[in-house]
């Protein structure tokens, strides 16, 4: 398999403490710690930490009552509901089809498999605005796909269904790339043992395979969800952007900003950012849990 491990797992594994025969704080003869660490911290502070704290300080400056009034206004609440709801729906669809795709790539052989596998990363490489206009062209009522759905009374473009379609596109690689390496590492022996003891294939999947890949599946799910909540470029073209109906939270931030409603933009952005941090925390918790599960 060309993809060994999700890199977060890789990074965490590499961060494990050194083997005991090394002394913990041995003095390194390698030079450059001051220079590289200094530059790293300076760049991190300038680009990431100071700007993010600016957002939090601005939000804090609003005071509780104003923050709640503009950050949780009815329109903002509707936008959160749409953002979280569509991101959740897309992550659920992707969990199913992403698992299927990962399974097929790991377990079966078929023509052009490697080429198709490379295509899975397309949503990472394709600029979001390009994905957005392409999906809109496909699903608008006279588009390639939309023209077949319109007579059935199914409206995709300019509705929350369209938003979900865009988020399925964006989120697919997260699930596949999380599950694939874990599935590839599963040994077939356990499955064969279960089969030879009389388990049905369905039982083998539910009792043997699924528990083993659950942490990876959850990680991918959380990554896709986090990306979906913050996604902007691929969504705004297909969304229709009607307040209360198809307006996502990141778009509402932009709208407020364009009308110079800085307090509202700041408050909504803070809520979205805190949601991102919560997802990041969740992902780390899942990975800590799966490491404990792997080596108790």
């Amino acid at each position: 398999m060309e993809i060994a491990l999700s890199s977060q797992l890789q990074m965490q594994a590499a961060l494990e403490p050194p083997r005991p025969r090394h002394r913990r704080n041995r003095k390194s003869i390698i030079p450059g710690f001051g220079l590289t660490m200094g530059f790293t911290l300076a760049w991190l502070s300038l680009i990431v930490l100071i700007p993010l704290s600016a957002l939090f300080l601005r939000a804090a400056g609003l005071g509780w009552s104003e923050f709640l009034a503009v950050g949780f206004s009815p329109r903002a609440m509707a936008a959160y509901r749409i953002s979280f709801g569509t991101a959740l729906a897309a992550a659920v669809v992707n969990a199913g089809f992403g698992l299927l795709t990962a399974w097929v790539f790991v377990r079966y052989e078929f023509p052009d498999k490697r080429l198709l596998n490379a295509m899975i990363d397309l949503p990472f490489a394709l600029p979001t605005a390009v994905a957005g206009i392409a999906l809109t062209a496909l699903y608008s009522p006279n588009g390639w796909v939309g023209q077949f759905l319109a007579p059935l009374g199914i409206k995709v473009a300019y509705t929350p269904i369209g938003i979900t379609i865009a988020l399925i596109f964006i989120g697919l690689p997260f699930i596949v790339r999380s599950v694939e390496p874990v599935l590839a590492d599963l040994s077939l022996d356990v499955e064969e043992a279960a089969l030879s003891l009389g388990a049905r294939p369905r039982q083998v999947f539910l009792r043997v395979i699924l528990p083993a890949i659950t942490p990876a599946l959850l990680t991918g799910f959380a990554l896709a969800l986090a990306r979906g909540i913050g996604e902007y470029g691929s969504v705004i073209f297909i969304a229709g952007n009607m307040p209360f109906k198809s307006e996502i939270a990141p778009l509402l931030i932009v709208t407020e900003l364009e009308q110079f409603e800085y307090p509202a933009a700041t408050a909504i952005a803070t809520v979205v950012l805190l949601a991102s941090f919560a997802m990041l925390f969740l992902i780390n918790a899942i990975q800590a849990w799966s490491r404990r599960k792997a080596n108790p």
Partner: protein, 279 residues
């Protein structure tokens, strides 16, 4: 992977599963890509060519190249420094530092743009001072560069950190013990070891830098011919119902994505370079 060891009646299931996955990939991944090129060429090659040599399109292409040419090298230097500090030394709070480096991946692009508006915009902390001194950051190129650096911040570092940690310190220590200088050791020992990972990170960083939309959109101000990058130009043309031109510019970005995928995949195939998911 040996499937023939599994019972035979599973072969029907296998076919159904493969077809299901392929249909999903075709429908959700291949079809949108085909649509970009079909729409771009829908009005013929002449219209396609004309859309690409339009002065606004040309200036958008130039700005996109400029922004990537500034932001990618800066994040490359940062990535090397961060990986060197994290992989070659022991210190407290290492995992916190790695988490913080990864942080920009979890930030919504719109929020990434907004934080700079709050700092440097007319109503921002430094806004009045900047206006007084005639420096424009927001609605100008520096803002676009800053927002791009923020969203592409972790790409090189997150490829290099696990790679350099895996390789350990022995090679560098040997070179230093034999009398090589620190910089020479990096150039002759470390760099050849990490070159594929480095290229990989730069590739993904560049793709995102050229294709970033949300963060750049917030700080750009959409001034035609001045602060429009290619993705923003796509949006403007699309909103003017100039679909053929919008898709023509979009097709260049789709080509960039395809080239990125091809290079990335060949790095994986030829050099067995394994990587994590590029978020």
């Amino acid at each position: 992977m040996s499937t023939q060891r599994l019972p035979r009646r599973q072969s029907a299931t296998r076919t159904v599963l493969i077809l299901g996955a392929l249909a999903f990939i075709a429908f959700f991944l291949v079809l949108p890509l085909v649509a970009v090129f079909a729409e771009a060429l829908g009005k013929g090659f002449a219209a396609y060519g004309a859309a690409l040599v339009d002065p606004d399109a040309v200036s958008a292409i130039k700005l996109t190249l400029l922004v990537a040419a500034i932001s990618v090298p800066l994040n490359l230097i940062f990535g090397i420094c961060a990986a060197w500090a994290v992989a070659k030394f022991d210190f407290r709070g290492k995992s916190v530092l790695v988490t913080l480096i990864d942080l920009p991946f979890s930030i919504s692009p719109v929020v990434a743009g907004l934080v700079y508006v709050l700092l440097f915009g007319a109503q921002g902390w430094f806004g009045p001072w900047l206006v007084e001194h005639g420096v424009r950051i927001i609605f100008a190129v520096p803002g676009i560069v800053l927002a791009t650096i923020l969203v592409t911040f972790p790409f090189v570092a997150r490829e290099l950190i696990p790679l350099m940690q895996e390789q350990g310190r022995v090679d560098e220590e040997a070179a230093l013990a034999l009398g090589a200088s620190g910089f020479k050791t990096f150039l002759r020992v470390t760099l050849p070891n990490i070159r594929w990972g480095l290229l990989y990170g730069v590739l993904l960083c560049n793709a995102r830098a050229m294709g970033e939309f949300g963060a750049v959109s917030v700080v750009s101000g959409h001034l035609r011919g001045l602060t429009n990058t290619m993705p923003l130009q796509v949006e403007i043309l699309y909103n003017e119902y100039n679909f053929a031109a919008a898709f023509a510019v979009a097709s260049l970005l789709a080509l960039l994505a395809l080239v990125t995928l091809v290079l990335k995949t060949s790095l994986e195939w030829k050099f067995g370079y394994s990587h994590g998911s590029a978020r």
